[in-house]
């Protein structure tokens, strides 16, 4: 099952913020984590993560520093800021509303669905 583009895009920000709330990370590791958490069902085009990270940086939700990878190459690390933590809480609340609403409607929908035997 592939998840639709719009949904992937909408969930990207809270996902990245939530992953970063567990500690500093970098692009590749964030993608690995998303893939692991979703069981490989959430597929991003790898490159698209970076403009998103830069947007979060510009909005002040994350801050970036250049460090070194284990092999000594330059690598950009991202860390959640206080602003970012607040934003994450907001996003969580919003998603929970969406989630609970959908759950409610799934039950009703299940009753209305034509019975297949």
């Amino acid at each position: 099952m592939d998840i639709s583009k719009d949904l992937v895009a909408a969930s990207a920000t809270p996902l990245v913020l939530a992953i970063l709330s567990k500690g500093e990370s970098y692009g590749y590791a964030i993608l690995k984590r998303v893939s692991l958490l979703s069981g490989g069902k959430l597929k991003w085009t790898d490159g698209m993560l970076y403009p998103l990270l830069h947007r979060l940086e510009r909005n002040g939700y994350v801050e970036a520093t250049w460090g070194n990878s284990e092999t000594g190459r330059k690598r950009k690390y991202y860390r959640l800021t206080e602003n970012g933590k607040r934003e994450l809480v907001l996003q969580q609340e919003q998603w929970q509303v969406v989630d609970s609403t959908l759950r409610g409607i799934w039950c009703v929908a299940a009753d209305l669905a034509p019975q297949t035997v």
Binding site: Y26, G27, Y28, T45, D46, G47, M48, Y50, P51, H54, R55, R58, S69, R73, K74, R75, K76
Partner: protein, 452 residues
């Protein structure tokens, strides 16, 4: 058998593709490259070989177009080419910083130099003529020095380059000019031209015989002029506000503005403009060709309407004192329009509608000038040969010869019987004629006309 390109080469290729995208900057590419390499390493551990790992990783990064579109959405300002001045920029190269410091330093030096005569009691108010004659001598050596440094000019060339400046200095200092006289004013007008062209030797790095270099100098001159005009406008606003706000507290800032801000700004801006043109060369579209495109049709219409009106109403050009100079300036303008459209044109492209328009402009300018010359020559005996009139007439002829032959070459090109490059070459070949004539006016005219 040819070995497949190695990994570093392929990554290098990928980088340069990415760099070609305006919205993606160096730092972004480094970040993406780190991702690419980490991904490849992980894939390699799963058993893929280098080639396969590279292909898969690049594919997963997403195709170039959508990726750069995504970056462009985030960094819309990057689509506007920004002139990043090297000063105060952490990432700037040491060379750029040095150049910026040198340019600003030279601008300050020129600004100081123009105030030095005041120490010897030569004030702007009283010795207006002195400043008019000399101001180019206070600034052009600095500009020539800047390019001598930038192009790493050889000592020998530097020595030769000093000669025109020395000669110019000697002429304005020791010729017994009659203040406010014809030759005095003529020298004041022509000395900057002479020194500007001499500075061209430094600009071309001593290779002034090379036609490509000459064309570059033409391009530089046009851009410099536009930058200087813009800076002058800004300076005007600055001075107007200075007068206004000091006036508001009852103080007269005029002496400060006219004796310090104006002269120092005028000479300093010469160097700053030159430096800006050099710095932005590869970054921002040249303005002169854009203005040319805009004004060539307008001036063509103007001249054609003028010609038709003149013939229709059977009016003749009234020969007054300054009419010749006015028509000289018209020819200079048309030549400028021609020159800057040539400078930006791809010499290999076939003739198009704009070329026809350009030709029409040149031909109509020739007609207008021919009418003017006719009227003037017919009455020149009446006026006699004053220095002003002789200079103006000769300059008109010099420009007429240039434009006349340009029209011939252009016609050949539009009729597909000659290459465009011959027109380009004609213009660059003609360059020294201006220099020689300007020297004659500066050095010979005063003697010829007894410093009238």
């Amino acid at each position: 058998m040819e070995s497949p390109p190695n990994l570093e080469e392929r990554i290098g290729e990928w980088r340069s593709y990415m760099l070609g995208r305006q919205a993606v900057h160096q730092a972004d590419i480094e970040e993406l490259e780190d991702h690419l390499r980490t991904q490849m390493k992980a894939l390699g551990e799963c058993g893929l070989d280098e080639d396969e790992a590279f292909l898969v990783s690049v594919k997963r990064l997403g195709d170039l177009d959508s990726l750069s579109r995504e970056f462009a959405r985030e960094y819309s300002e990057r689509l506007w080419k920004q002139l990043v001045l090297p000063m105060g920029q952490g990432e700037a190269s040491a060379d750029g910083t040095w150049e910026a410091r040198l340019a600003v330093g030279l601008a300050i030096a020129a600004a100081v130099a123009i105030k030095v005569p005041e120490l010897f009691g030569v004030s702007v108010d009283e010795s207006y003529g002195f400043y008019l004659r000399n101001f180019s001598l206070f600034v052009m050596p600095f500009l020539a020095g800047y390019f001598a440094w930038k192009r790493r000019l050889e000592r020998m060339v530097c020595g030769w380059l000093a000669l025109p400046f020395l000669a110019g200095g000697l002429i304005v200092s020791f010729y017994p000019f009659n203040p406010g006289g014809h030759t005095d004013v003529l020298v004041a007008i022509h000395l900057p031209i002479v020194l500007w062209l001499a500075m061209g030797i430094a600009y071309t790095g001593g290779k002034w015989r090379n036609h490509k270099q000459r064309m570059n100098f033409v391009r530089f001159s046009g851009e410099w002029f536009i930058y200087y005009t813009l800076i002058a406008c800004g300076g005007g606003v600055l001075m107007a506000f200075a007068l206004f706000i000091f006036g508001a507290i009852g103080l007269d800032a005029f002496p400060l503005v006219s004796e310090w801000v104006l002269p120092c700004g005028m000479v300093g801006a010469v160097l700053i403009s030159a430096w800006l043109v050099e710095a932005k060369q590869n970054i921002i579209e040249n303005m002169a060709p854009v203005l040319t495109r805009l004004f060539t049709p307008l001036f063509t219409v103007l001249l054609l309407v003028f010609l038709i009106t003149m013939l229709w109403t059977k009016s003749v050009i009234r020969v007054e004192r300054e009419v010749l100079i006015g028509f000289d300036l018209l020819l200079v303008l048309v030549l400028g329009l021609l020159l800057y459209s040539i400078s930006a044109r791809d010499a290999k492209a076939p003739p198009d509608a704009f070329d026809g328009l350009q030709l029409l402009l040149v031909v109509s300018a020739l007609f207008v000038d021919a009418f003017a010359l006719w009227a003037i020559v017919a009455r020149i005996s009446e006026f006699g040969f004053t220095p002003n009139r002789t200079a103006a007439l000769a300059e008109n002829l010099i420009l007429l010869v240039n434009l006349g032959w340009s029209a011939v070459l252009y016609t050949r090109f539009v009729a597909k019987r000659g290459p465009f490059s011959s027109l380009e070459r004609w213009q660059t070949t003609y360059g020294p004629v201006y220099a020689v004539w300007a020297w004659i006016v500066v050095a010979v005219f005063p003697i010829l006309f007894h410093y009238r």
